[in-house]
């Protein structure tokens, strides 16, 4: 069987298109690359969806944590503490258990025990908490002068938030947010590893890597392939976020922009 044929058969296997049965003997390198790559669809889906949704909740949480009102501050603080303070591994366990019990209450909750929704919610909450903390830190370090200038221009309330506070917060938080995005993509490998069941042998990249390691009894091929895909993914994330970073800082003079870029620091 040629490699192109393998790609046609298994390229979309992780979402249920193509061959129904997984290969069972004579595992070729091509099969391993194709199936593990096919699994990456799930990692990207979880990562992108959780990041997109988490961005908004994170902003709300950051504002909540910085709020002067207890009613807004306490829930945000606790949410961030619980999701940042516990391993994702354990969050998945409790989430699956909770969704399973909710299922008994009403059929509305049926899809929640499936990974595509249930695991997504956990990852969404998780990244919201981490990003919320990063945004909160950025909010606190907005230069006082910027806000005073906004006052002087007569900006207040929503207008001030939209035109001054929010863009500055994003600009300051962006390097740390890039790291959070990378970590989140890595965290998606835990979904089928420990949290949620895999239906019809449709899983993520790690699921298939494990499948091959299991069948060939040789961990030295599939896991490096998985690593290779993730390095590509990480590079793509860095490129995309770098692009956004340049956009956010486009008004700064050249010298200041360069300084921002090298300050990319690990914050999570």
């Amino acid at each position: 069987m040629s490699c192109l044929q393998t790609i046609a058969d298994y390229g979309l296997r992780s979402i249920g298109i193509g061959e129904r049965l997984l290969p069972r003997s004579d595992f070729t390198l091509c099969q391993q690359f194709t199936l593990i790559g096919s699994g990456m669809i799930w990692n990207i889906y979880f990562g992108v969806m959780a990041l997109a949704a988490g961005f908004f909740l994170a902003t709300v949480l950051a504002l909540g944590k910085g709020s002067r009102h207890r009613i807004a501050r306490k829930p945000a603080e606790w949410f961030i503490f619980i999701f940042r303070g516990s391993p994702l591994f354990i969050q998945f366990f409790f989430a699956y258990f909770t969704f399973l019990s909710l299922k008994g209450v009403s059929p509305v909750f049926d899809p929640f025990t499936a990974a595509w929704l249930g695991a997504l919610i956990v990852l969404f909450f998780n990244t919201s908490a981490y990003t919320g903390e990063i945004f909160h830190g950025a909010l606190k370090s907005i230069p006082k002068g910027d806000l005073e200038a906004a006052d002087a221009y007569g900006l207040s309330g929503w207008a001030r938030f939209r035109r001054i506070t929010f863009p500055t917060m994003l600009r300051l938080a962006w390097p740390a947010y890039t790291n959070e995005a990378i970590f989140l993509f890595h965290a998606t490998t835990l979904v089928f590893f420990s949290g949620f069941p895999a239906w019809q042998q449709r899983g993520d990249a790690l699921y298939y890597a494990k499948f091959f390691a299991d069948k060939t009894f040789n961990p030295f091929v599939p896991y490096p392939i998985l690593a290779f895909y993730f390095i590509l993914l990480t590079l793509a994330v860095i490129a995309l976020y770098g692009f956004a970073n340049r956009y956010l800082n486009r008004h700064l003079p050249q010298e200041a922009r360069r300084r921002l870029r090298i300050r990319l620091n690990l914050i999570r």
Binding site: S86, I90, F94, F97, H186, T189, P219, Y223, A227, N265
Partner: protein, 294 residues
């Protein structure tokens, strides 16, 4: 443990629970909390060492070394930690045994790779097959530490690299003006000052390491997750004196409390450390402290 525990089937309520919670297996479970904390305590300095080596290499003026340092940090950070954990231990073990094999058994004629097998001479085995069980445990512990340190050292390298660059250039220039050599300026000026810039990143790295410890069981360590899974699973009367249903909820709940407490304590310690380290530094916080003191 207690004397009344000889016939658990006749016990009820609290006394049953007292006996149940003091079985040998539970003791191992409690001890594994210590193992995890000990591992963390060992891993932190080890990864800092790896990180420091990586960052120094990346800063090196000798370009192959610089490339090496940067590649190490970039590649390891680009890959999920779990992918490393799944094959690193075996790889490291084989690497060590291979080196020892070459050194200790030069007359060995058979190949090391025999089909699927990895065979080294008896003297090169790590630990030796005659070693007591605790040596095997210690070796597994060592491999786990090393794996963690390699993976998180890459993150530490990035943090320290950034911190070294964050130390104001004027500080180094002043040192050079005083006639210090490159190495002197590095060790006497740069290294003592970089920690305050590295601290936020290192603090986060610590939190990440804490939350990666549930993966320790992949490295062959019987850690808290291993025992929680085993103890929490349904137990039939045939295989235990204390049969019970699916109690994983309670055990994982205990783990949750453990991790939240650890995070809470870490945050407090980090806060204090930041204040301590800011003292006398050329940063805004250090300046504020100087003014308050004056």
């Amino acid at each position: 443990m207690f004397e009344f525990c000889t016939d658990p089937a006749s016990l009820e309520g609290l006394s049953w629970l007292a006996c149940y919670l003091t079985t040998g297996k539970h003791m191992a479970f409690y001890a594994s909390f210590g193992t995890v904390l000990l591992l963390l305590a060992v891993i932190l300095p080890t990864s800092l060492l790896f990180g420091f080596a990586g960052a120094s290499a990346a800063r090196s003026r000798f370009w192959p070394l610089s490339i090496l340092g940067k590649t190490y940090s970039a590649i390891v950070r680009g890959v999920p930690d779990i992918a490393f954990f799944l094959f690193f231990v075996i790889a490291l073990d084989q690497a060590f045994e291979y080196v020892r094999h070459r050194a200790l058994c030069p007359d060995w004629s058979e190949p090391v790779r025999q089909g699927n097998d990895f065979v080294v001479c008896t003297a090169a085995k790590l630990p030796l097959s005659t070693s007591p069980a605790w040596m095997h445990d210690a070796y597994a512990f060592f491999l786990a530490v090393l794996t963690f340190a390699i993976v998180y050292g890459a993150f530490a390298a990035q943090v320290l690299y950034g911190a070294m660059r964050a130390v104001p250039r004027a500080q180094i220039e002043t040192a050079e003006a005083y006639g210090m050599s490159h190495a002197q300026a590095f060790w006497r000026i740069l290294v003592p000052q970089m920690w305050i810039y590295a601290l936020p990143g290192l603090g986060n790295l610590w939190m990440i390491m804490v939350k990666a410890t549930p993966l320790l069981f992949l490295l062959g360590i019987q850690d808290i997750v291993y025992w929680a899974r085993d103890l929490g699973g349904t137990k039939q009367a045939r295989f235990t004196d204390y049969p019970h249903g699916d109690w994983r909820m309670y055990y994982f709940g205990a783990l949750l409390v453990f991790y939240l407490t650890l995070t809470w304590v870490s945050e407090k310690v980090l806060d204090r450390l930041t204040r301590r380290l800011s003292h006398g530094q050329a940063t805004a916080a250090g300046e504020a402290m100087r003014r308050a003191g004056a």
